[in-house]
C-alpha cells in the first residue's frame, strides 16, 4: 500500500464528495425567496465615473431598486433596455434605481451602458463584498427594498415586468 497516494487521493476525494452531497440540500431555483423579508445589508459604494459614494443608509424612506449586472452577462443585456425605459417614471415618484457592476471592469461596464442605455448610476463593487452580502448567485439579480430598508422582492435572472411593476406600485 502506497500511503502517500492514498492520503493525497483521500484529500481530493472526500471534500469533493462532501461538497456535492451538501449540494442536494437546496434547489438552485428556489433561492429567490430566502432574502425576501430580510433587512437589506448595508452598503456604501463608489459610483462609477463620479468618485462619489452612495450609502443605503442615506436612502432611508425611499424605495430602492438594486440591479446586479455585468457586461459579460447575456440576460442582463436582454433585460436592461426594459429597465432603462421603466426607470424614469418611477424615479419621478421617488424610487431610487441603482445598478451594481458584478465581477467586471468599469470600462466594460461603461461600454455596456453606452450600448444598452443608461438611466441611473452604477455602483462599483471591486471586492465583490456587496454581492456576497446580498447573496448574489449569478447575474442578473434585482432587489427591491422598501423605505424601511427591508428587501421585499428579489428577482433571480431577468426581472419579470408585471411583478416588478406590481411590487413598486404597492410600495408607493
Amino acid at each position: 500500500m502506497n500511503w502517500r497516494v492514498l492520503i493525497i487521493g483521500a484529500l481530493i476525494v472526500i471534500p469533493l464528495v462532501v461538497v456535492l452531497a451538501l449540494g442536494f440540500g437546496r434547489d438552485p431555483r428556489a433561492l429567490p425567496n430566502m432574502m425576501e423579508g430580510q433587512p437589506a445589508p448595508a452598503f456604501a459604494q463608489e459610483v462609477m465615473d463620479q468618485g462619489t459614494q452612495i450609502a443605503l443608509a442615506d436612502l432611508r424612506g425611499r424605495p430602492v431598486v438594486l440591479n446586479f449586472y455585468a457586461s459579460w452577462c447575456v440576460p442582463c443585456a436582454q433585460e436592461h433596455p426594459w429597465l432603462v425605459k421603466t426607470a424614469p417614471g418611477y424615479q419621478q415618484r421617488g424610487v431610487v434605481f441603482l445598478g451594481v457592476l458584478y465581477q467586471d471592469e468599469p470600462a466594460k461596464g461603461k461600454g455596456f451602458l453606452r450600448r444598452y442605455g443608461e438611466a441611473y448610476p452604477t455602483l462599483l463593487d471591486p471586492t465583490g463584498r456587496m454581492a456576497i452580502d446580498y447573496g448574489v448567485a449569478g447575474v442578473p439579480e434585482t432587489y427591491i427594498i422598501d423605505g424601511q430598508g427591508t428587501i421585499v422582492k428579489k428577482f433571480t435572472g431577468p426581472v419579470v415586468p408585471d411583478e416588478f411593476v406590481a411590487t413598486l406600485e404597492a410600495l408607493l
Binding site: W3, V5, G9, V19, P28, V74, G135, V136
Partner: protein
C-alpha cells in the same frame, strides 16, 4: 405491451452484466479461460438486450405510444419525425437508457477486440466494464425507468424541451458526447485491469492508448459540436460560456489528452506509469462527475434537468468509483513502477511531455475548482456566489497559451539528451515564422497582446508540425534517392500514427487561432429599426425588410429579414427568427449567421414589436469563428487516422528511418 417488453429487456441486460462482471473478475483472479469466455458472452448478451430495449423505446416514441411513461414526458403528436427520434436523449430517463445502450456497444466491441488477445488482462477488463454496466442497468431498471406503464394513457404529450428541438445539431451533438463519455469506461476498465493484475506489458499499454483514442475523438467532436450548437441556437453569439456542464465535458477531455501524451512516455520509456494510470482513471471519474452535474440538478445551468431522485444514487456511484480508484492505485502502484531513471535533460522531448502534462493538470484543477467553488463556498459560509467568465478567462487564457507553446516546442525537441546547438538550429525557422507573424500583426494594426501571442505561437507550432510531418519522407528520399514525391508519399504512409498525431495538432492550431481572433476582436452592435430603415453595424449596412409570422405544427415563429451589404457589395439576406413554443413561456431567438473564413456576421433578434413596427437586432461581428469548426473537423480526421486499426505487426515495422530520433508514435 412495449412497457412490459422494455422492462423485461432491461432486466435481461442487468442479469447479463451481473453474471459477466463476476465471471470476468473471477477469470482475472484464477486465470481461467473458461470464465473469461463467459464474461465475453455476457457482454454480447448485454449488448443484445439493451439494444432491444432502446429499439422498443424508439418504436414507442415513433408510434406515440403514450402508455409508456417516457413518451408521455417528451412525446408529442405534433413533433416532426426527427424530433421524435432524438427525443430518446432529450430528457433524463431516456438519456440514461441511451447511455446504457452506448455502453452495450462498447462492451461488445471490447469483447470482440480482446477475444484472442491479452490473456493476462482481458478478463479483468471485461469484468470491470460490465460492473459499470450493472450500475447503469440498475438505474434504467429502477429509479430512472423510462418504461413504467401509464394507465390510462393520455392522448398527447408536451414534446421535448424547445431549446433542444430548435436545431438539427441536437441530432449529433449529444450522441457524440455520449460516445465520448461512455467510451471512457473501456480504458478505465483496462487501466483497472492492469492494476488488478499488478503488471503492465508494453502491448497492454499500447492497447490502453488505442482504447482511449476512440472516446477521446468522440469527446473532442462532442465539445466542438456543443460549441457550434450553442453558437447557432442560444442567440448570444458565443460558443463557450464556462457553463458547469460545458466544463464537465472539458475536464475529462483535458485529462484524457494528457493521458494520450504521457502514455507515449510510458510505452516508449516505461516511465510515469502511476501518473499515466491516474490520468486514465481520472478521465473516467470526471465523466461520471460530469454526468452527475448534468443530471442531478445540483448545478444551475442551461443543461440541468430538474431535481431528481437519481442524484443521490449517482453520487453514491461516483463516491464508490472514487474510493475504488484511489485505493486500487495506492495498493498496486508500487508493484507496477520499477525504480525509474530520471528524465533526460531540460531541453528534451521527455521534459516537454512532462511540462505538457503539468499544464493540463493545472488547467483541469483550475476548471474543476471554478466549477465546484460556488458549492464549496456555500457549504462553508452559507453564502451563494457565482464564479463567472472572468475567473476562467484569467486562468484559462495563459494556460491555454502555454499548451499551444508546448505543442510547438515539444515536437521540435529530440527524445533524450540534446545538444544546445542542435536545439537552437531546430528552432531557427519556426522562430523566424513566429517573428514574422508578430511583425505582420503589428503592421496590420493589431494591438491585443494575448491574441497576437497565440498567433505567433500557432505559427511556430504550425512550422514545427509540418517539418515533423515531412521528416520521414525527406529522410527516405535522402537515404534511398528516387523521386521526391514517391519518397514523401511512402514515408508518410509508413508513419501513419505519427502523421495522424500531427494532423490533430494542426487542428488544434486552427482552433486556437479561431478562438484567439474571435474573442480578441469581438464587436457587438445593437440596432432598432423600422421597416425599410437602414442601420450600420461595423462595416455592414443592414436594411430591415420586414417580418413574417410562420406557423408550423409545433411552433410559431417571427422571421425578420435583413438585407446585408458591405460598402456597395451586396451580401444577400439574413433571416434571424424568434421561435415560440407553446410549452414555453418566452420566445427563443434563433440567430442567422453569415460565416466566411475571415469573419462572421451574426444576427440575433432581441425584440419584435408589432405595435410600433420596430425590430431590435443584435449584430455580433467576430473574426475567424469558421476556423474553429474547421479545426475541429481536422482534429476528427487526425483522430480517425490515429485510431484506425493497423494490420497485426504493421505498427512495429513502421519505425521511421529518419535522422530524427522520433519513431512511429512520435506525436499525437
Amino acid at each position: 405491451m412495449i412497457s412490459l417488453l422494455g422492462r423485461a429487456a432491461i432486466l435481461v441486460a442487468l442479469a447479463a452484466c451481473v453474471v459477466g462482471a463476476i465471471a470476468g473478475i473471477w477469470g482475472g483472479v484464477t486465470r481461467s479461460a473458461e470464465a473469461a469466455r463467459w464474461s465475453r458472452w455476457m457482454a454480447w448478451a448485454f449488448f443484445a438486450a439493451v439494444a432491444a430495449a432502446t429499439g422498443l423505446m424508439e418504436y414507442a416514441l415513433l408510434t406515440h405510444d403514450f402508455s409508456v411513461h417516457y413518451v408521455t414526458e417528451v412525446g408529442s403528436r405534433s413533433s416532426p419525425t426527427w424530433v421524435s427520434i432524438v427525443s430518446l436523449w432529450s430528457s433524463l430517463e431516456g438519456s440514461i437508457l441511451f447511455w446504457a445502450f452506448v455502453l452495450g456497444v462498447y462492451a461488445a466491441g471490447q469483447a470482440w477486440w480482446t477475444r484472442s488477445r491479452y490473456p493476462e488482462h482481458s478478463a479483468y477488463a471485461m469484468g470491470m466494464t460490465l460492473l459499470v454496466g450493472v450500475f447503469f442497468c440498475y438505474l434504467v431498471a429502477g429509479v430512472a425507468n423510462p418504461f413504467t406503464l401509464v394507465d390510462p394513457a393520455p392522448a398527447d404529450g408536451p414534446g421535448p424541451n424547445p431549446l433542444l428541438q430548435n436545431h438539427i445539431l441536437m441530432v449529433i451533438h449529444p450522441p457524440a458526447l455520449y460516445l465520448g463519455y461512455v467510451g471512457m469506461t473501456v480504458p478505465f476498465a483496462m487501466g483497472a485491469a492492469a492494476l488488478l493484475a499488478g503488471r503492465i506489458t508494453p502491448s497492454w499499454s499500447r492497447a490502453l492508448r488505442n482504447a482511449m483514442l476512440v472516446p477521446w475523438g468522440f469527446l473532442t467532436a462532442g465539445i466542438i459540436l456543443g460549441g457550434w450548437w450553442s453558437y447557432d441556437v442560444l442567440g448570444w453569439g458565443g460558443y463557450w460560456a464556462w457553463d458547469p456542464v460545458e466544463n464537465a465535458s472539458l475536464l475529462p477531455w483535458l485529462t484524457s489528452t494528457a493521458f494520450v501524451h504521457s502514455a507515449m512516455l510510458m510505452e516508449r520509456k516505461d516511465q510515469l506509469k502511476g501518473w499515466t494510470l491516474t490520468l486514465l482513471m481520472a478521465s473516467f471519474l470526471l465523466t461520471i462527475l460530469g454526468t452527475f452535474m448534468t443530471r442531478s440538478g445540483v448545478f444551475n445551468s442551461v443543461h440541468s434537468f430538474t431535481q431528481t431522485p437519481i442524484g443521490p444514487v449517482f453520487l453514491a456511484f461516483l463516491a464508490l468509483c472514487l474510493v475504488f480508484s484511489v485505493v486500487l492505485l495506492a495498493a498496486r502502484i508500487d508493484k507496477l513502477t520499477p525504480p525509474q531513471e530520471g528524465l533526460s535533460g531540460p531541453a528534451s522531448r521527455d521534459t516537454a511531455f512532462l511540462a505538457q502534462n503539468l499544464v493540463f493538470a493545472a488547467l483541469t484543477f483550475t476548471v474543476l475548482l471554478g466549477t465546484v467553488w460556488p458549492l464549496l463556498n456555500e457549504a462553508m459560509s452559507g453564502e451563494q456566489i457565482s464564479v463567472g467568465e472572468p475567473y476562467f478567462n484569467k486562468w484559462g487564457v495563459p494556460l491555454g497559451f502555454l499548451i499551444v507553446f508546448l505543442m510547438g516546442v515539444g515536437p521540435a525537441l529530440p527524445w533524450g539528451r540534446a545538444s544546445g546547438s542542435a536545439v537552437v538550429q531546430r528552432f531557427l525557422v519556426p522562430l523566424g515564422v513566429a517573428a514574422v507573424v508578430v511583425g505582420g500583426s503589428l503592421a496590420f494594426g493589431l494591438r491585443q497582446p494575448w491574441p497576437i501571442a497565440v498567433f505567433a505561437m500557432s505559427g511556430f507550432a504550425l512550422v514545427v508540425s509540418l517539418q515533423e510531418m515531412a521528416a520521414p519522407g525527406l529522410a527516405r528520399w535522402r537515404g534511398k534517392g528516387g523521386s521526391l514525391v514517391g519518397a514523401m508519399l511512402e514515408g508518410t504512409l509508413r508513419t501513419r500514427r505519427r502523421q495522424a498525431g500531427y494532423v490533430v495538432h494542426l487542428g488544434v492550431i486552427l482552433v486556437a487561432i479561431g478562438v484567439a481572433a474571435s474573442s480578441g476582436w469581438r464587436h457587438v452592435h445593437e440596432l432598432t429599426l423600422v421597416e425599410g430603415q437602414t442601420g450600420q453595424a461595423g462595416r455592414y449596412t443592414l436594411t430591415y425588410l420586414g417580418h413574417e409570422l410562420e406557423r408550423e405544427a409545433h411552433r410559431t415563429a417571427s422571421v425578420a429579414r435583413f438585407h446585408v451589404a458591405v460598402d456597395d457589395r451586396e451580401l444577400g439576406v439574413l433571416s434571424p427568427r424568434m421561435n415560440n413554443y407553446e410549452a414555453m413561456g418566452r420566445p427563443l431567438p434563433s440567430p442567422d449567421v453569415r460565416s466566411v473564413p475571415a469573419e462572421d456576421l451574426y444576427l440575433s433578434l432581441v425584440q419584435v414589436d408589432p405595435k410600433s413596427g420596430t425590430v431590435s437586432v443584435q449584430a455580433v461581428i467576430q473574426p475567424m469563428v469558421w476556423w474553429i469548426w474547421v479545426g475541429g473537423l481536422v482534429m476528427a480526421v487526425g483522430t480517425v487516422l490515429a485510431a484506425w486499426p493497423s494490420r497485426p505487426g504493421a505498427s512495429r515495422k513502421a519505425g521511421a528511418p529518419t535522422g530524427a530520433p522520433a519513431g512511429a508514435e512520435g506525436a499525437a
